[in-house]
Point group: D3
Chain length 307, copies 6
């Protein structure tokens, strides 16, 4: 279908008092409501570039599903190699930009920054085969965990959980290698695409499956074992935030749940605080849980009232 | 040839050990973590193509709302006709691709597949007027069900529920005609756009209205009557998944609720299992419900605790 | 990564019975299921144009975060000025279109409409510095309210709540100036991007922070004080909809909660009706609340059942 | 907002003395070298829009060659109709803009201008079938006049002369209907594409063929009969320009050649002034001709010198 | 610089008598001026696809000049391999389409056509290294033949002759392998870009250099030796076209000049007919030559007249 | 009009012997036909970037003709300022790249190169008002020199000569400031757009007018006075190229004509060598001239032969 270009401007241009508005915005920006970093100018990482980069990594990891149709035996490695090279060059630049924001105070000189960005990128590349192995375990968990799933291809293409976990595993690797800002940006792109919000610092074992997924939140210090299954609206959050004597929040303290192996958490459950959900437990839908449960527990919501 | 676009690469290219990473990825792909289908190469349906197709169908169904501005009496049918033709040609190709994944074992020969894709597409086209009638009933239900709605145009353009239902009704038609993979892909696109996840196999009657909608999940075997109204975070899910003796999930068993005519389900309610919500019932917010209720019921959550 | 263009049409064109389908669609459109406004043709506002407009406004308000990299002292005001001018011209046209839909009955003549659109746009521009001040307070609230936040840049780029509030404050200004349709469209774009659904007519004070945010719904007549913090899945909704004697919903009646200053509402809480949450209260996760609570309250969900 | 695309800017931004340059440019623009029309602001026609319009007209006239592949009997008229409608709407707008520049002194009011633009466009549309007939005669002349031509398709797709004549015939129609500025713009687009420069006011009969064509110039008042064939570098130009007593050129005086039916003019011939090349004549390569020749003439260059 | 999108349609849509025009166009198309091939529908090769293909081949042949900046030793072959594979797949499809037009009468069945297209494409690929060798000789001839040339990079990027010869050598290879239509289309693209028109069937030896080049025409049966240099406006054309008894042109007869090794032909010379320019000759500017000259000749134009 | 995307690949992928071709290309590239510069890797200037840059400069110089429609008094300087800033940043990067190719032997270090690029760019910016003055004189010369010209707008939009001179004056400025490679690239872009080839090192006075223009060539050392008028196919070229004792061409020697003030040169004239065309002379069409003529001369071609 053809759409005409969108910004037909039939309204004639007018006088907008541009000078006055711009003057006030400058005052707001530079004086009254200045939020700009006071130091040398730092280029921000680009959301669009990261989207392209993650698309490239998807294609590198699963060329027949996310790459190009009809790759042949003689051509597939050329495709993977060229895509990987392009993608790593782009990534190194974004890592470099992000590094400027990771260390708040002392930014190393440009050359050291670039070297560091290259080292991180090279290590990230070296870890891709291992990430692929984890992702295959996740896809297989989805296939065996959802009776509605009819093929691996369906899980690769139609499950938001697959996308969320894929972005998470890439972001987690960057986070671990020392590129936290970039990692957060990647997780926010996944959040926007899927409604699933996984902090890249969270630790998640193999064979992880999120079904439907909208509204899932997994916090910064959460630890999740192997073969865990979550449904939509599940929150693994913090109960309270420790603050110092001035009331300033202390960052980085463990404050999210530990979920052991083989746990299933149904839709809408809210689990808060540094508590442990024992291995093999099942947490029912809409449950609000702030205390740990032993392995093999079966927790369900209080009964409803039927008027 | 590919030219890069937006992402300025100020970081100089580096040595990434490409050969080593690519070698390991090949081993992962072909040996250790091979998830590729073992048969002839099958082109996957394209998410981008389907987005274009659904945009085309929207324009065909509601040319003044989703088509092109300022269509006139002498031109509207040319627009509808040309858009429909283009869209059906594209759809037929995607249906063909999808068919290869529907039947896991024996794929018919290429020519039979193409013929089948054309038949499905032709029947789908024939059903469009009926789909339009249903969608008009849905829009009218929104207008009369939401006091914040000010015009039909607002419902067509600003309500995620409208988009989710439109995608669902198109996907359901394709599912019914034998193109389940494509149907799933369409429903996942709607999910990403709206946060509303309706399985295309679900059966939903006329005058259906979802308000706000983020987090709504409607499962594969759910059946919904006429004039039903849902709010955000409502789950119509499965309680448990029957497995066979080897522990493999049995697919296709009815396991989601039946919601009869004129039911209203408020935000956050989770309704699980093959239970029936009787006609005219009201289910309150955040309720967790695993047993059926008779017609005219009024179910609310247990009381909160006020410390 | 290079993707080949997506709609390769290997399936040969077929006979689709176009004439018959088009004929039936025309009958549906013009007779049996006609939902078109009966008056003069009115161009709809364009979602794409509004996205471009909001991007432009973001760049005008925060040029170093959302504008162009590497703006210098001598160039920044040229950028802001040119972007603002372009954006206001586009906005005036969309406001003009939207005005046709705000007043259902009597649309003023074209010239009056254009003049009105210009007036609204000019007033909107004049209010931008004040909107910027509010947004800075919101960003600071996020920084001090989330222990996981590491920099202002992270909050500007990686927090869906930031985007949702930014869109809301722009939409609310347009709503207040008499452009409700446009305001709704902007809020729906934010909803699609973030999963957060704030009606533009809601009133929200400074230093507002939504964490994670997916599934948050804030209704049309809600009133929120200063320094309020919400988490994901929080609903500030209506309990019931007053109808007139014919059963037609009465529009515009206050029916959503009032949340006073310094309230925190945790994930999944559903608060319905024109009730007041007193200042300084804390509402726990998953609570379903339909009655007001006094200042300083601490409301939590009923206990779960542990089988 | 505009985002940069392809041009990586590794050079850091610098201080360009923007204010000074901009100030001087303003002085040049408004005072010392002011070439702006002194009257109300007039939007210029858009070269890009005209390119789109001509592409649309090509598709309308020859849908299987310039339109869309694989049009079927049931779909072709929908395509032609929709493309024609879109194209005429675009054309009417460009005609309206162009009209402001055709009449230098008194521009009619906006409404009269719009009405006039619509009348011209409607008449232009009515003439399209006749233009198609002429173009088919031209294509057939190419096929029978060039031994290297192997198919009609080759002539439609690979001959710059075909494009130049097609653009000319469309431009000539617009010129005749009172839209000379637009006509000139179209002829300049063709000139840029093909190196062939035909003034839209020239009159050219059926079955016209230009082979190779680069460097052909046909002046404003040239008249060309039927079945004429030109090769590259042929000029049909003016010898001198009559001026009035103040030395100002008199515009519109016939000053270019008349070429009668069945004339062939070989590469590089320069024919100047209001002279007549009699029917059936052959003009040799590189000839410089400023006097008319009778029918049946055979003119060749003076002999070369061989040192 | 930002340009607003171009087709703002401020002119309201009008009544264009679409039905009447479309009806007349159909009659012209199907009856009175029908130029369509009478046989099965054949997709035309695509000019846009060929432009992409030639860009790809340029990148494959000279990756550092026409490919991607900053290719490294470890990445260059991945780039070349992936670009070559993509380009050959695209080329095979265009060759297939073109083959339908090469043989006017009997088109082989689809499968044979595809097989033939693959064979041609595979042979074409095998010839690329040899084409590269020729092109390097051409570039070196330009560098040593033009005192204004300052570097190889300048010749690769700024000389239209380089582009024209590159396109010619690719087109000539396709022509020789049996894909004449495609070859012609490629040569016409080069013609449009450079003003240089070389028929792909012409035979041209190594170290060929065209300076400036606009208006150069080299005919179908021309034969050019090694180390030949041409300037702008040089025509190597046919003098007359032999026709059969019915007056139909006989196609394929040798009718263009033979230019032996080490000849220089200056600007504007027109050389017509199957004549031989002996090795080492110099032909002066604007000469019109229809008889052969022995080796070592020095031909100049007759003297000018100075009034 | 909608065109489907162009590279539908209905032909199945095949085996292309990629490895063999790639291997041979590598050998050709690195050994047998290596034309790569032997030194550090140097990024080439980008033709696309330069096109964008020239578009930006056009908009800066003539914002109402080449910029954005409907600029107002309050907005025009914001537009000019922002466009100029963006364009200069882009230009500085391209100048930097080009500098690497200007000095063949010793490239200064990166920082010196960047500084030099900024200096050139800053001086270039400072010269823009003067360039504008010259261009206005050129436009006025066209208006008074062509009886077919109807308005300044027509000359700005529809005359290839205007574009060619505009590109030339910008390129000449860059050439003079020490950026010859970039200057050549700009002149080649103009050549491709207009068929007019002006070497950026040529010196051309004010009020210069080229009518039609296809095939005009003006050589590197040509000097043209004020108020000169040229027509299509005029060559101001070199007669012979002085070589040193090894036969290597000596670069930079004056070898093109000097054309004094108020000269008119008609279509197809070829003027070669370092000769002087005296002020006020008229050179007729197709003349081949290798000796200077005194002021006020009137040179015409020898008579034709009429068989």
């Amino acid at each position: 279908m053809t759409r005409d270009t969108f910004d037909a401007t039939t309204v004639k241009p007018s006088h907008w008092n541009l000078s006055s508005v711009i003057e006030q915005l400058r005052v707001s920006r530079e004086a009254t409501h200045n939020i700009r970093h006071h130091g040398r100018v730092r280029e921000l990482p680009s959301r669009e570039a990261l989207t392209t980069i993650v698309n490239g990594l998807q294609a590198v990891l699963f060329p027949t599903h996310y790459g190009r149709p009809n790759l042949t035996d003689e051509s597939i490695d050329f495709f993977v190699g060229d895509t990987l090279n392009t993608t790593l060059n782009r990534l190194a630049e974004q890592v470099r930009r992000g590094l400027q924001f990771s260390a708040e105070e002392a930014i190393p000189d440009e050359e050291a920054l670039t070297r560091q960005a290259h080292d991180i990128t090279r290590q990230f590349a070296a870890g891709l085969p291992q990430i692929r192995a984890l992702l295959v375990s996740d896809v297989q968990a989805a296939f065996s965990g959802d009776p509605a799933a009819t093929s691996v291809a369906e899980i690769m293409l139609c499950y938001p959980g697959t996308i969320a976990i894929l972005y998470y595993r890439l972001a987690h690797s960057l986070h671990s290698l020392g590129s936290p800002f970039l990692a957060r940006l990647i997780s926010d792109i996944a959040h926007s695409l899927t409604g699933i919000d996984i902090h890249p610092a969270a630790q998640i074992g193999a064979s992880f499956f999120i079904d439907h997924g909208t509204g899932v939140v997994i916090g910064e210090t959460a630890i999740i074992g192997q073969r865990v299954r979550l449904y939509q609206h599940v929150t693994l959050g913090a109960k309270r935030f420790p603050a110092d004597e001035q009331g300033v929040l202390i960052k980085g303290v463990p404050r999210h749940p530990i979920v052991e192996d083989d746990v299933v958490i149904y839709a809408g459950a809210t689990i808060l605080g540094r508590i442990t959900i024992g291995a093999g437990s099942t947490i029912g839908g809409n449950v609000w849980l702030t205390q740990g449960v032993p392995p093999g527990s079966n927790v369900a919501q209080a009964q409803m009232r039927n008027d």
